[in-house]
């Protein structure tokens, strides 16, 4: 369906030296990255590293203070999320994707309902919308018995998949997924990861934001590290290992320190008094 057409030379999305200031707060300073079609770019970084600001800039919520964004080689300026959508950049937020009380079909087509009929009798084409929703859900391996059932009855992973399927169906070229797996169990997370791989196979560019290296590493082709509003660099999968990524993500030193501290507690466990002292710190 949504195949990347031509222009192999330019990356699908090219973020060039983006900065974003909120008053005196510098949220982003000189962030650059490129995402190609058929590639999953994992955006990694601790809380406060600027991941959210970056994706909000890419999805048209914020305007960059400096720098530029190019989509397929053309410079773009987004005034609203709608502009970004029209340019083919679809963002799936972790919790703002779906309305639980509305049906799968109504959620799927929210804001872009197919219509039929003329003049005052133009109406929401429920029959074809139900059919498409059911088909698209089937394609991603979710067998809905009734597309009229409320989204609230779906599991968290299924909801993420509906949101992603919706973005893909409406012609997204770049998918931005904001921590789609962080609230999910192992099984559900793997359902979402499988679907990310499927989207890549359809030649979409995916920007995948996560805290979890075990989710990022299997599907990622490249990893961009953010720290305190700056990029620490982009690494191809072949150039790096899971352990290296993990170390960069969490700050290797802090993990080593934590290890040492925990070992200390384990030793202190012998004396009850020491345990009583240690437990508040351990929690």
């Amino acid at each position: 369906m949504a195949n990347g057409n031509g222009n192999r030379g330019a990356p699908l999305i090219d973020v060039d030296d983006i900065s974003k200031h909120f008053g005196s707060v510098i949220a982003l300073s000189g962030v650059s990255m490129k995402v190609n079609a058929g590639e999953v770019m994992c955006l990694l970084g601790d809380n406060g590293a600027g991941k959210s600001t970056l994706i909000k800039t890419l999805s048209g919520v914020h305007k960059p203070s400096a720098g530029e964004i190019r989509v397929e080689g053309r410079r773009v300026d987004f005034d609203s999320p709608r502009d970004a959508l029209d340019a083919g950049i679809a963002t799936v937020y972790q919790d703002l994707a779906m309305i639980p009380l509305m049906s799968i079909t109504r959620n799927f087509f929210m804001g872009r309902e197919p219509v039929t009929g003329f003049g005052p009798f133009r109406r929401f084409d429920v029959a074809s919308a139900d059919r498409v929703a059911k088909e698209e859900m089937h394609k991603i391996g979710i067998d809905v018995r009734d597309p009229g059932q409320a989204v609230g009855t779906l599991s968290g992973g299924e909801r993420q998949c509906v949101a992603i399927a919706r973005a893909v169906y409406f012609g997204a070229k770049v998918l931005i997924l904001d921590e789609p797996t962080s609230a999910l169990g192992v099984k559900q997370a793997s359902m979402v990861l499988r679907y990310i791989a499927q989207a890549r196979a359809r030649n979409l560019g995916v920007i995948f934001i996560t805290h979890n290296v075990h989710h990022a590493f299997p599907v990622g082709d490249a990893f961009t590290m953010l720290n305190r509003g700056r990029t620490l660099g982009t690494f191809r999968k072949e150039e790096t290992t899971r352990e290296e990524i993990l170390e960069m993500m969490s700050g290797g030193k802090e993990l080593a320190d934590l290890d040492a501290e925990l070992a200390e507690f384990a030793r202190a466990d012998d004396s009850p008094r020491a345990r009583a002292q240690a437990s508040p710190a351990a929690s």
């Binding site: 999320p81 709608r82 309305i99 009380l101 109504r106 804001g111 309902e113 067998d143 009855t153 599991s155």
Partner: protein, 367 residues
């Protein structure tokens, strides 16, 4: 594939018909209406409540409330309240009456003016709610007092009184007025009286000569709104705006436009209510419509609409209004002290809210 089909079948079997019916928001109101009818069929069977005249009577009460309940329900589904409905009824009444009586305007022009003012009031209500981000409950509560105060103040200033009467000549001469207070279906009722199906007066004319326009308005409004809600893009936007305005806005739903339009719609429905009353009674009173905003919200809630928005049914709201009208008139016919009506109302509301809450939990719990 075979296993998948088997799984699908198994899951359908887990959803018996009554669970499906439970998923409909209007179920409670329909069941409630049936119960109320059964009750009064037994309790008030011999009193003439279910004669043609009695039926038209309680349907007319239901219809007037139904007109505003349907609009309030649409707005509630979009996640907002309008507590200024009752004051708008009073305001629209005097806006129609004063120019017609005091300045001799033709009635149709007064009615158009009332609708224009209603659109403005609704627009301002909506704009303030959207711009300030304050709960519409508070904003329109302020609107309730401001509008009522303006109505009383200006009416006294212009006419020196709080009632405007003497509209009958203007109503009789007007071409637009029959649209609000006429009757339809006279030939049918005449034929029914002739066949002895309904009571005829001694001169052969039927005692009930047609269906009042308020009932027609109510049914048409319910049908059109149900269609908009369930079968148009705008309907989907209304559900989305109430369900989660941020998510809706993110996918391009014009939430602001939807909400402001619905505030204008509730104000216009209040004006329609006022038109029906003024044209029917030939007078207007500044205190008309007091507490109607709460009755409209109660009818919508009994109809299964959630106070939090995003879920509900105008058909349910209409049934809520029907329950309301039936009980109000039923208590009158059975001769029970009408004080008890308020008790019934409160209990009914409480049951409806608890029931709705249960339904919402069912609908949003993941399996």
């Amino acid at each position: 594939m075979a296993t998948q089909a088997a799984r699908a079948d198994e899951r359908i079997a887990q959803q018996p018909w009554f669970r499906k019916a439970m998923g409909r928001p209007e179920l409670g109101a329909v069941a409630g209406a049936i119960l109320v009818f059964l009750f009064f069929a037994i309790a008030a069977g011999g009193t003439g409540m279910f004669s043609a005249l009695g039926i038209v009577n309680f349907l007319e009460v239901s219809a007037q409330l139904g007109i505003i309940a349907v609009a309030a329900c649409m707005l509630m589904i979009a996640g907002e309240f309008d507590l200024s409905i009752g004051s708008m009824i009073g305001a629209a009444g005097v806006i129609i009456a004063i120019p017609a009586v005091t300045w001799g305007w033709p009635l149709w022009l007064c009615i158009l003016l009332a609708f224009a003012v209603a659109c403005l009031v609704g627009y301002v209500n909506g704009l303030i709610v959207i711009r300030t981000g304050l709960p519409s409950f508070i904003v329109t509560l302020a609107g309730l007092f401001i509008l009522r105060g303006l109505t009383i103040g200006f009416t006294r200033l212009i006419t020196g009184r709080t009632q405007v009467s003497g509209l009958s000549p203007a109503i009789e001469a007007d071409w637009l007025a029959p649209l609000f207070a006429g009757e339809v279906g006279y030939p049918l009722f005449k034929a029914m009286a002739g066949a002895g199906l309904i009571i005829a007066r001694p001169d052969g004319e039927p005692l009930v000569s047609g269906i009042p326009m308020s009932i027609v308005w109510w049914l048409v409004l319910t049908a059109v709104c149900a269609w908009i809600l369930l079968r148009t893009r705008v309907g989907n936007w209304i559900f989305a705006s109430g369900g989660d305005p941020v998510a809706a806005r993110n996918v391009g739903v014009p939430v602001t436009r939807v909400k402001i339009s619905l505030f204008m719609f509730t104000a216009c429905a209040a004006t329609l209510y006022a038109c029906v009353q003024v044209v029917d009674q030939g007078s207007a009173d500044v205190l008309r419509g007091s507490l109607k905003e709460f009755e409209a919200i109660i009818a919508a809630v009994i109809g299964g609409t959630l106070l939090t928005g995003g879920y509900g049914s105008v058909i349910g709201a209409s049934f809520g209004a029907l329950i309301f009208g039936t009980v109000q008139m039923g208590i009158f016919y059975t001769g029970v002290n009408t004080d008890w009506f308020k008790v019934f109302l409160g209990v009914m509301l409480l049951i409806a809210v608890i029931f709705n809450n249960y339904i919402r939990r069912k609908a949003t719990s993941s399996r």
